[in-house]
Amino acid sequence: MKRASLDPRRWPLAFKAPALVAAFMLIVSIVMTNAVLSRLRETQERQLAAMSMIYLNGLASALIPHVLREDIWEIFDTIERGANLEGGFGRASVVVVDSKGETLAASDPRKAPVLSQQSDRDRHFEGDAVLTVDSDKARAFARKPLIYQERRIGEIYADYDIRHLLRERGEVLRTLIATNTGIALLLAAFGYWIIRRMLGPLATLSRHLDLSVSGPVQPIPQDQITASTREFRRLFVRFNAMADAVNEREAIAKELANEERLASLGRLASGMAHEINNPLGGLFNAIDTLKRHGDKPSVRSTSLNLIERGLKGIRDVVRSTLTAYRADRGPSRLAAADLDDIRLLVGPELVRHALSLDWRNMLEGELPTDASALRQVVLNLLLNAIQASPDGGQLIFLATVDAENLLLEVHDEGPGFNAETEAVLTGESQKPAPVGEGSGLGLWVTRRLLQDLRGRAIVGVSHLGGALVQVRVPLAPVEELRDVA
């Protein structure tokens, strides 16, 4: 993953699946916790109600004779003794009132003084309810009418402290959260491990695809194919089939590039023959003249000069051809003269199209880069520029060096690159070698050469009005050169 994305659809599967498990556990635990807590609350309230009933019934039977006599002391004393017997719930506060709702006695007389009105205590109860629980205040309210001979002679109000019940609920909640978190984390970790294991073959596939970017596609070894699951086995077999196809295509492309080089050589050779042929006519004329008027010193001298110049021209053409394709020097050094040879090579083409070339070779000494590959690059770019330029136009070639790079520029007055050919040259398209007439095979070869040189080409607009191709090649010794076209 390059960068954490906020879009869950882009999260890695190895994270997404465990997260899903954890989320699922969260939902399950919320539902379970709710169920358990509500069940616990019901049980607690049922128990509280039962204990309250037992307590208040006992209290009522002890209180009725005292309430009948309105014996404040005995009521108080009975409540006090009853308070010691509560046991089951936290400290209860009890108020006993007469039939008018006036306090007869209370367990805490300072809060409910004798004769104080307590009828507002009924607001805690709905209808005939005898017990209500107020969890916010951690109190439970209970009431019990005192009935004597079917007459209501008073009422007991009890107010229980239920903090211990709420504490128990809190403890259960904490236990549930801790347990469920533990299970969720464990399952998530297990899920992560499982998914990682299941996605192992994808990593193999990805590794092989990565390798194919910088070299031939490596087929997945047979033992890994047999070791994987059925789905991935099919995928791997297909990948290998594709790898074979790609490698085959690569081989064909190399073949094509070779042929293109030969073809360009052929074109040059025909140009060269033409170049040699032109002075040949003059030379034969001169020889003819010498045969006939060779005794005349002026004629002889003029003819010999003519022959000498013609032969010099032929010698230059032959020399440049020889230097372009000689293999007598190490490929790792480039001299200024190596590029100047190119100028000679393209000379006939320039003449043929009546083009002028402004040659600005600023290189000095020898540079650590592959001379033959680079010459091929320059030649291809110049041939491409010549081909694109209108007759009588102008070309500029510039070669310079900055701190760590060799910089080349080729300007022309042509119509410029279209998007497709530009992509072929600059390497933005991973398309294979184009096949067909004028399809830019030369440019494709150039790009591959640059790729080997770890250089790059950029296409721009020249101040001449046509295209500008800028090439940047890093000046570091090239360790290993592939068998270039």
Binding site: I72, W73, F76, D77, E80, A105, V114, L115
Partner: protein, 299 residues
């Protein structure tokens, strides 16, 4: 005290509820002493909530001391109210009883003094008007108007008569002066009622409050005496006039007077925080008699 009252006769130790209250305000109970050979009728001595530390230790020690000192089996009879004990004494069901100065004065002709307890060197005590410790200054009973007031017993001098007489001097009656009154039938209960806030004030035996402040200071510190009466005759041990000259009463009186000279007797006195018992002239109770007259005059 329903429970205590239902238990009409408790033959011996072991059946006693082991609570102080069960004994304090407990109903009728007899403590027998099987060890003593019954040569004659057992001597029946009635007790009332005057007792403070009336736990099993005290009752057993008192019963054991009296039986040995008198050479006769002694039964301790516990009653809840002064009224019960007085009527049983008058009707001859009891040989002697520890009653209050008020019933003694009220039935002066029918009763004779046997002995009077000596507390802090004197045969006298005071009545206190008790209020909550957090209550502001109360200088006279007039400040208690409108209170919920706790009395101990309608036949108690310190726990009823003194306050009643005090109001009578101001031409008032308790039911008009106080918002509400109730009886607790125990001086300790009056202290409890005031301490808890059930009553805003109470009439209590000064001796009980003082002894409680040593034995249960956490209870008495919630209260404070707002007014103290002058010294009056301590609740006496009396017998019926017809029985006064009997041999049993003579031996009983001797046993009471001699109590400080016997180890068991001293432990009884220690539990009661008393110095001993003395024979006193009935005129000791004249101030109580004056209060009775005052109250009667007011109707």
């Amino acid at each position: 005290m329903t429970v205590g009252r239902e238990r009409r006769s408790v033959p011996a130790r072991g059946n006693w509820a082991p609570t102080r209250r069960g004994v304090l305000v407990g109903g009728a109970a007899f403590i027998g002493a099987p060890a003593i050979v019954r040569a004659e009728q057992p001597f029946r001595f009635g007790l009332t909530p005057v007792f403070l530390t009336s736990d099993l230790d005290l009752l057993e020690a008192l019963q054991r001391y009296l039986s040995v000192a008198m050479g006769n089996e002694v039964q301790l009879v516990l009653k809840r109210t002064y009224q019960e004990i007085t009527s049983q004494l008058l009707s001859g069901l009891l040989d002697s009883a520890w009653i209050c100065g008020f019933p003694f004065v009220a039935y002066r002709r029918e009763l004779e003094l046997v002995a009077v307890p000596v507390w802090r060197g004197k045969p006298t005590y005071q009545s206190y008007l008790l209020v909550g410790a957090d209550r502001g200054d109360v200088s006279s009973i007039r400040d208690l108007r409108g209170d919920i007031h706790a009395f101990s017993d309608p036949d108690s001098n310190s726990g009823y008569l003194v306050t009643r007489a005090l109001l009578a001097e101001n031409r008032a009656k308790p039911q008009d002066f106080f918002r509400r009154t109730f009886f607790t039938y125990g001086h300790r209960n009056v202290v409890r009622a005031v301490a808890a806030g059930l009553a805003q004030s109470g009439s209590v035996d000064g001796y009980v409050w003082e002894v409680l402040s040593e034995a249960e200071p956490e209870l008495t510190k919630l209260t404070k005496p707002a007014w103290r009466s002058e010294r009056m005759g301590f609740p006496p041990i009396a017998t019926s006039a017809g029985n006064a000259a009997s041999e049993g009463i003579r031996r009983f009186q001797r046993a009471l007077i001699d109590m400080p000279s016997d180890p068991t007797g001293r432990s009884v006195l220690g539990l009661l925080r008393l110095d001993g018992f003395a024979t006193e002239d009935p005129s000791l109770f004249d101030s109580i008699a004056r209060r009775v007259d005052l109250v009667r005059a007011l109707g």
